[in-house]
Amino acid sequence: MAKNILEVEDLKIYYPLASETFFGKGGVVKAVDGVTFDIRENEVFGIVGESGCGKSTLGRGLCRLDPITEGRVVLDGQDISKFDRNQMRPIRKTIQMIFQDPYASLNPRMSIFDIIAEPIRIHNLAKNDKELEERVVNLLRRVGLDAYHANRYPHEFSGGQRQRIGIARALAVEPKLIIADEPVSALDVSIQAQVLNLLNELKKDLNLTYIFIAHDLSVVEHISDRIGVMYLGNFVEAGDKNKIYKNPLHPYTQALLSAVPIADPTVKRKRIILEGSIPSATNPPSGCKFHTRCPKRMPICETVAPQRYEPSPDHYVYCHLYDDKLEAQAAEA
């Protein structure tokens, strides 16, 4: 089995709210509330969930763009969760990020050359200007652009091309792990397919590992090897992609998958329509956070948060339905 490149243990990221606001006394937003998983070398780990579930915060926390409240993040055997700015510098050569909005993530006043050269300069990866130029041109070609694009500015490019530039910038420091936060959701479908293919090709050629954060379940299924499904700051189900998509165990995953529209009018499925919307992360429900919307809720769900169960190897689910002891008790009663 491939070795783990990243291990995340009980990670918590809380944001304090302003202590006293117009709307009353503030509390904390538990954006990520105890997430545990590991990522193997050269795999794509997909994180899916709806808006506000904490998936972006999780991604930003892993590369320490957001402060970590509690828990461990172990990169290549090294716990980076308490590193300060200076200690993080060399780490940023290993972890890079690609962002959702290709319009907001490129500095409009920098040429494409400078955008891609910046990380190479910061990390002193080129001996001289000639080598720097060579590297930038190679990166541009690598992502399907041309050398002459280097002298242009972001506004001259389409959304898909800008996303390619963002990818080239991430690749500039030869990272091992790339965290891609919704990299294709701002793109049209025909362009989305181009970028997904590029990401897959780069992964194979450069031996990369991805954390792929997205809300589109079909896209995540296409690109991932293993996934984690998030709801209100926690994983509800995680593990092998094929197992989860073929046999979703958590009621939330089941509802989520049934809600995906299928581009085939002859397929008629029974949709599980969830009631209501995601509760507020400042005041999440007690017990299992999904119990307020769960079609299969039991009395215990309202008070006790479920543990992690592993009904089959590399298929984890956080739901009382899969607690054998509970089942035994129910059978006795």
Partner: protein, 334 residues
Amino acid sequence: MAEKKKILEVKHLHTHFITDDVVVKAVDDVSLVLEEGSTLGIVGESGSGKSVTALSVMNLLMGTKGKVVEGEILLDGDDILNIPESKKRDLRGGRISMIFQEPMTSLNPVMTIGDQLIECIKNHESLSKQEAYDRARNILEMTGVPRVDKMMKEYPFQLSGGQRQRVMIAMALICEPEVLIADEPTTALDVTIQAQILDLMNRLKEKIGTSILFITHDLGVVAEICDQVAVMYCGRVVETADVYSLFGHTAHPYTQGLLASIPKLGEKVEELTVIPGNVPNPRRMPAGCKFAPRCPHAFERCLQEEPGFYEVGKGHFSRCWLNAPDNEVKGGEA
């Protein structure tokens, strides 16, 4: 089978945006038919002209550089394009109404939900205060929002995205319009909320008897909700058919490309099929077929001459030389 009544007909619509140096043909000879009680989907990528088509139908282009330069728009046989502005006002929200992608920016932030709904009724009908209130409350209840009475007194910022979209739908349907235009109504919403809203639209369509023009970029949503589909590219309808023929016997290479490029749930492919290149710049449209530069089947004629709209099955049309009756030999390779 008896022909269904055509509730909305768009005939040879041309909408142009006239800027200082150039004329952009955002909608270029578009014809659509919406049958009574059915849902017509308009699919296309950004810049295909689908939203401008909707705005043209709603007569909402004032304030932009856009102008309908040619064509007819008939609502149940009545011309709604060449009528005075005051008549258009009666039409909008009354016989024909629209919901938008972003429910927050479409609602008035300083008016309560109840007042906004009541304002809409009062613009079109003369009802007493109490009657208008009851009507607003009823329609809001139909959309399945929780705590209806409380929500009537709340402001948009107090609601979630899904709830706001329900309020928008309530507002659009409050005068029981003949046609509802929905422009990407679920794009800003999460999948589970999208499922709720699509379900709601389907239920209300039957209850109120409204026909829907549904604009989206999502072929999955089209397959779930539409009866008829028109695929747009560069301001033109390139293929139109009933939903089963469109997905079952896709004729136009652009539609085929779109369908192939979306990852499908439960389907394993190493590499997605892509449509190469980008949508052409509207200021520099290619001569001939607009899709030819990106089309895997393009041959000489495509680059020079624009194809007509050819019938490939009953009610199924495709704008492609491959589907031209006189072109069977040349198009043989496909």
